[in-house]
Symmetry: C2
Subunit: 320 residues, 2 copies
């Protein structure tokens, strides 16, 4: 058996930091988490993370059995290992996270953003096994992307490539997006975008809907799904609008890297065929003839509970 | 001196096929051309091309001094070496051009489309020397693109990646594009798109313009440039609309591959600041804050008369 048979995957979110020790077959053999927001001082955060990683590594032979650490972090820069000006994290400015954690544990560490981590996970353990060219689209609170070309995640000149959620779908009077621009696909096709579409349609139409029984400001994309499952026409219309917008953008994305597949990851994928059918329809209506009906759209098959940790850990296998 | 110090570059167009022998410093040391349309039989075309290449190679030591052939061809597929269903060439279906020419001359040959060839040329001899991540945009009869990531042209799963001219800029009632879709940026920002915008503005407005002195159906992008140079407001407005559309699309392109620069190549670049200023303005207005004022937009500095041959020849240096 190899001296260092494991990698560590970290999924850092604004609320929690979840991590796990992963073996070469993609099994998470130990896991834990700490509260990100509880450590306004980065040094305290690193100390607590080190302590907890050391604790869960103990039963498998200690941290010296871990070959490398991969972390998916908001605004994580693969080239520098820094977290750069992440609005939802407690630490401001530029945080040299990879270096701090690597120094603290004595293990090489690499980081990227969560969508790129998902793409790596998909290629290593998921629906993109065997694919060299695909695009991972994460549909959650936001819309993220990880682009894989010739088997490698695209980082670009500065390390921040792959922000397809911030390409425009509406060019005139589009919704304000969290990035500061207007009309980005993220403002429409994220879970929050879908909820907003629901509220807008309730306010601006008279169409009867189960969604009208809910308090408008509490409606979530899950409520829209539940209503669609019950045959609610307005709910179906919301998914149709959202899916068609995504499909139109996918047609644009295909012209860039001519992927074998576009793979959907994240909470919104639970909407199943309600979101998938209009995506595929609009994508094939809008793509150049050479790609019509040729590019697959697939749901991620990373195991849901461990997907983020697995994705991040996949980065670490590339560390020598 | 090396046994095989030269490469051959071929620029195949619907009308002419231009080719030249290029040395390692990017000097075209011999050149010629044949009429593409004069050979409806591909075998006759290959025979004539072989004869003419052999003739110009004679003074520099013969075709055995040529290491490889790079060809930029409409619908050229880098992976297969085939020209696939090119609408403007005399040969229908799939033509195994690289194999036919290679067999005929006894020299390895590789091909791609003209925009990818321009990107290779830019990186080898032009404005992208030293860059690893950039996007070449060709503004001519059409709008093409060659995307370079980590020093390599992106070909994608099928060999046809990099068709950014066919991403949408207008989603409702857009102009019909040559590709069969509607609203593509090519339908607005190509030389023919600019001429069409001129005709539309002449017909739908009363704004005085020097362009009204011309026959509407004969107006070219060159006429619009000449009018702008003379202070014509309508002509300036045409460039402003066109440049802003391009800039808005460039903001989307940046989210994909985070390039160091976007480089403009082709006839429309003669419009200089009339097209450049609105591009840069709209790009920076529409891009995510992390890229604002960070991505360069440059004109190609490949020598104009030899640019296409140089670009194609650059492909051949990569052959063993």
């Amino acid at each position: 058996m190899e001296a260092k048979p494991y990698v560590l995957g970290i999924d850092m979110g604004g609320t929690n930091t979840v991590f796990g020790i992963v073996d070469a077959r993609g099994q998470v053999i130990a896991r834990s988490s700490i509260k990100t927001q509880a450590y306004p001082d980065i040094d305290e955060y690193i100390a607590e993370l080190t302590k907890e990683i050391t604790r869960i590594a103990d039963p498998v032979g200690g941290v010296e059995k871990i070959r490398g650490i991969g972390a998916g972090c908001p605004n994580g820069n693969y080239y520098t290992g820094n977290i750069e000006k992440a609005p939802n994290l407690p630490w401001k400015g530029i945080v040299p996270f990879a270096k701090l954690l690597s120094d603290s544990l004595g293990i090489p560490a690499v980081l990227t953003n969560d969508a790129n981590a998902a793409a790596m996970g998909e290629m290593t353990y998921g629906a993109a096994r065997g694919m060299k060219n695909f695009i991972e689209i994460t549909l959650g609170t936001g819309v993220g992307s990880g682009i894989v070309i010739d088997g490698k995640v695209v980082y670009g000149h500065d390390g921040f490539a792959g922000e397809l959620g911030h390409t425009k779908i509406v060019r005139q009077n589009g919704r304000l997006c969290g990035c500061g621009q207007s009309g980005c696909i993220e403002a429409y096709a994220s879970a929050t975008g879908v909820a907003r579409t629901a509220r807008e349609l309730i306010e601006t139409t008279n169409e009867p809907s189960l969604l009208r029984d809910l308090q408008a400001e509490t409606i979530t994309s899950k409520d829209v799904f539940d209503a669609a499952e019950k045959g609610d026409r307005l709910a179906k219309k919301i998914f149709d609008m959202t899916g068609r917008m995504l499909g139109e953008k996918f047609a644009d994305f295909i012209t860039f890297s001519a992927p074998e597949a576009i793979i959907l990851f994240g909470g919104m994928t639970k909407s199943g065929h309600w979101i998938m059918d209009p995506i595929v329809e609009a994508m094939n209506e809008n793509v150049m003839p050479i790609w019509k009906d040729k590019v697959k759209v697939l749901f991620s098959d990373l195991p849901e509970s461990d997907a983020a940790v697995l994705g991040s850990s996949a980065l670490a296998w590339e560390l020598n």
